[in-house]
Subunit: 124 residues, 2 copies
């Protein structure tokens, strides 16, 4: 458990939200066949369904700013991350708070991918 | 992956916050030797350290109300949970929003315990 899980998590989260905000059609590449997304309590299973869900979210523009991304290693070589932050959708002036939990896993080639992804808006 | 992960998660979360609010000295029993807690970005490793951290948090009274607890199974038989909710500390009138991510694992006897726990206040 001595690998740099926090560094990998920060790098992943930065890449994830940058891609989400500029080209979310290609986010599917970060998921695999058995990956899961729970987006505002709506569930998608598998990279293809997740990619479709993310591409078809009902907004054109989005900008995420994550404030914190706390990571822990798992018992099986993965990484659990809890992100908190704000996002701005389309031409809304008021940002929304969100939280997102990820579990990253590594494939046999050493590539990290998202196995678990749970996204939730937080209303203050 | 056909076990009732959402039911187990809801039951766990209900038990966790009820215990936290009434008798948080005994929360250590939900963790094991290699369990991790990240509480407001401060890290504790192992049930004994986690129990001590939770018991010594700088408030007397706390009341959690969780709004959502979305769960997913992991690739290795665990459960990832993202909780959002509010809490009220001591005699504060204004609730604070929080998010918390858990990974639950099962021991060889079938008992669920917390392996990963990341808690974060969310400021609106």
């Amino acid at each position: 458990m001595s690998f740099d899980f926090q560094g990998i998590a920060t790098q992943f989260v930065t890449h994830y939200y940058t891609t989400f905000d500029t080209n979310r059609e290609i986010l599917g590449g970060l998921y695999r066949e058995n990956s899961m997304l729970t987006f505002e309590s709506s569930q998608s299973l598998g990279a293809a369904n997740i990619a479709e869900k993310l591409a078809n979210l009902p907004f054109q523009k989005v900008k995420h700013e994550f404030a914190t991304a706390d990571a822990q290693p798992t018992a099986t070589g993965g990484i659990v991350i809890l992100v908190t932050g704000k996002l701005l959708v389309d031409d809304e002036a008021r940002p929304l708070s969100f939280s997102q939990a990820f579990q990253l896993c590594q494939d046999p080639q050493g590539q990290w991918f998202v196995f678990n992804d749970i996204f939730k808006l937080v209303f203050g």
